[in-house]
Symmetry: C2
Subunit: 190 residues, 2 copies
DNA sequence: AGGGCCTCGCAGTGATCTTTGCGTTAGTGG
DNA sequence: CCACTAACGCAAAGATCACTGCGAGGCCCT
């Protein structure tokens, strides 16, 4: 309900400051609690206790579990995958899909996505995938800069991104790198 | 944590009985609260009050918000779409995809999916899509009975089901019937 | 129509969550 | 080095949630 950016205090925004340390500790606590599949509650007091800070602090900086999860998801899904640049669209997409499959297989990724979607609604959902779309866009633009035709971003999202996220979120099938690459070959049938 | 089937009392399972009426009222209350985008809490006391029953009843029949949502999602996503049977695989899939797009555009469907995923985890997620997979399987098997080759169910899920659910859950793009049919033509390029 | 079983309503209780005000401490800038 | 600002720790209070007996009422079966 408040700012759209992540809550960073004005004075403590330096990398090693106290605020940054607390922020990191809270983020880690959220991820650990989500990974510990112990039917955990994921309430603010629980997160605060695990992070070693007081619940009041978390309430004041994030306000609600939804905004906290959105913040965690945003930083978790930003800059985590290095966008490949091999000079070939197919190769780029195959590596990207395979890396994404591996990332989504991380034990703490899936619970984070699910919890964020469920608790933070539209805001949280877009926090999980906004970066992915931009990364695909970058891959396509590089190929276009080389003078080649490419599918649209929407098409790549439908053919590659969507199956990856769908399988992860809705099914219990494993996301293998091989399968991820077949998605790309279905998109680029040459 | 209890039964895997929906909680139906032994004696009151007749369509017009009191238990069935309570069950319907609670289900309706859940859907209404999810549709009312008022930053709703969706706790059991809130649902019970809206349904006109006592919270104790909801606690005893469903136990937790997660199981309640799973139950609502299961009945909401069962038998709601009539599987088309036109005699043509392409036509069947196009109609099915288009119907599913319309269904996912319903204002109360998306919040239900999101909340179920977030609160009920694996159980809830499969409750939202298990029926869909079986319906696709039925369409494919009919085509095979006609003596034709078909893609695998996994392939159809990747190409059609996944983009539909992905767009609905993770983006704010509209799910148009035209786009849904496009997904099928990419799958069946003849 | 009557008996028996199951479910619901009801009220009370303990636990947990959420918020508020105030003092303290860390970090920033002069 | 000192002062100022802002965030954090702390404690208390109000609200909400989750759970547990007990009694009443409805539904099914004979």
């Amino acid at each position: 309900m408040s700012a759209t950016t992540s809550p960073l205090p004005r004075t403590g925004s330096r990398p090693g400051g106290r605020s940054a340390r607390i922020r990191a500790a809270v983020h880690r606590a959220v991820e650990e609690l989500l990974a510990d599949e112990t039917g955990e509650l994921l309430t603010i007091p629980v997160v605060a206790a695990r992070a070693g800070v007081h619940a009041t602090t978390v309430y004041r900086r994030w306000g609600s579990v939804g905004e906290l999860l959105t913040d965690v998801a945003t930083s978790r899904f930003s800059g985590d995958i290095v966008v490949p640049d091999t000079g070939s669209l197919r190769e780029d997409l195959e590596r990207y899909a395979s890396d994404l499959a591996k990332d989504l297989n991380d034990p703490d990724t899936l619970p984070l996505v699910r919890a964020t979607i469920g608790t933070a609604g539209e805001q949280g959902a877009s926090a999980c995938t906004r970066e992915r779309r931009q990364q695909l866009q970058a891959i396509l633009e590089r190929e276009q800069a080389r003078g080649h035709q490419t599918p649209t971003v929407e098409r790549v999202m439908d053919a590659v991104l969507a199956p990856l996220y769908y399988r992860a979120v809705f099914t219990d099938q494993a996301l293998t790198p091989e399968w991820a690459r077949t998605l790309v070959s279905h998109l680029l049938p040459d």
